[in-house]
Symmetry: C2
C-alpha cells in the first residue's frame, strides 16, 4: 500500500539542526539519569539516545565512548557540588548553627537530586569509586569535618573523631533517600518522599546529631 515514490515516502526523522553545546548538555542530562538508574555497566547507549532525541552515533561523536560520557557526567556533578556546599566553609556562623545548616543542606540536596545518591552507590559498587574522584566531592566532606573540629576546639562539641563522625552524619543524611525503595514497604501510610515527611526527617536528623555530639 505504498503509493508514490517521493510525495509519500516513509516517515523519516528530520535532521536536527542544533548547536553543539546544546546537544552536549542534552546528552549529559539524559546520561546522568540513565547512569543513576542503571550504573555505568548497565546503562544502554540506546536509552540515552532515546531520551535525548539524538541519535546514538552523536554520543560517540561527542564523548568517544560510554566511559568517556560517564566521566563527563561526573565532572559536571563535581562543579555543581562545589557551588552547593561552598558556603558551608564560612566561619561566620556559630558552629552549632553551621552544623545544623550542613545537615539541612545535605538532606535538601538528597531530596532535590534523589537520583544522584544512586549514582554514587553504583559508582562505589561497580567501579570501586575510581571515577568518582573526578568530581572532587572530597572537598565537601572535609568542610563538614572542619566544622566538627572547630566545635571541639571551641568546647561546644564533645571529644569525638571528626572523620568518623562526618561519615556517620553523612550516613544519616543519605540513607533515608538511598534506601527509600526498600523502606517504603515498612509503613504504607507514610509517604517517605512527601515534603512533610522530609521536613520531619530533617528535624529528627538534626536533633539526633546535635544531641549526639554536644559537649
Amino acid at each position: 500500500m505504498d503509493f508514490s515514490g517521493s510525495s509519500q515516502k516513509k516517515k523519516k526523522k528530520p535532521r536536527q539542526v542544533r548547536d553543539a553545546e546544546a546537544t552536549q548538555a542534552q546528552i549529559l542530562d539524559a546520561a546522568e539519569q540513565e547512569f543513576a538508574r542503571h550504573g555505568l555497566a548497565g546503562t544502554r547507549i540506546d536509552a540515552i539516545a532515546a531520551r535525548t532525541g539524538v541519535v546514538k552515533a552523536m554520543i560517540y561523536y561527542y564523548f568517544d565512548s560510554k566511559e568517556g560520557l560517564y566521566q563527563s557526567v561526573m565532572q559536571r556533578i563535581g562543579t555543581e557540588l562545589d557551588i552547593a556546599f561552598k558556603q558551608l566553609a564560612n566561619t561566620d556562623l556559630p558552629v552549632e548553627e553551621a552544623l545544623r545548616e550542613s545537615i539541612r543542606a545535605g538532606i535538601n540536596y538528597g531530596a532535590a537530586y534523589p537520583h544522584r545518591g544512586m549514582l554514587w552507590f553504583y559508582e562505589a559498587i561497580q567501579n570501586q569509586g575510581q571515577y568518582g574522584q573526578i568530581s572532587g566531592w572530597q572537598k565537601s566532606f572535609w568542610s563538614m569535618t572542619a566544622i566538627l573540629e572547630r566545635g571541639m576546639a571551641e568546647g561546644v562539641f564533645r571529644s569525638l573523631d571528626p572523620f568518623l563522625t562526618t561519615i556517620n552524619i553523612l550516613g544519616v543524611c543519605t540513607f533515608y533517600f538511598n534506601a527509600h525503595e526498600n523502606l517504603k514497604y515498612l509503613d504504607s501510610t507514610r509517604q517517605l518522599l512527601s515534603s512533610e515527611m522530609i521536613k520531619q526527617q530533617t528535624q529528627e536528623a538534626i536533633d539526633l546529631v546535635l544531641a549526639g555530639i554536644k559537649a
Copy 2:
C-alpha cells in the same frame, strides 16, 4: 593434526558426580556473590557457572531462570537474618544496653557480610525492593523500633519518632560499609575495613546514637 580417535581426544571436563543438595548450595553461594557485585540485571549466568564449576544448564535445571535463582538467594538471606537478629527482641536487658547491642549487631553484620549491603542497594535501585520482601527483613527493623518505644515508655530515651530514628540508626550502621569504596579515597592512612577501625567506628556510632536519644 588430530591423530587417533579415542586415545588422544581433546581435554574434556569430567562429569561431576555430586548430590543435588550440595550443588544447589554451591550455586546459591556463587549467585549471592555475583548478584551483590552486579545486581540482578547485570549478573551473568556464565559468571555464576564459572564460579561454581557447574555448567550453565545446571543452573536453569535447578532454578528455572535468573529471576528464580535471585528469589532463592533472597529467601536464604531472610532465614539467616532471622537467626542473627532474633535475640534482640528479648526484653531482659535494660533498654540502653539492648540498643547498644543492636548497634553492635548491625555493624558486626555489615562487617561480616560486606557484600550484602550492596545486594540491598541493587535491590532498591534496580528492582524497587520488590524481591527484598521475600526475605522478611522488616521483622528485624521493627524489633529495633520496639526497643526505642520501650526506652521512651521507661523515660530513659527522650521523645522521638521511633520509626524515623530506627531508619537513621540503620543509616549509621550501614553507610560506613556501603559507601566504603567511595570513602576509602579520603584518608589513605586509615584502613576502613581493618578490625581496629571497625572497632573505633562501632564505639563512635554507639556514642553518637546513645547521646543523641537519651532523655
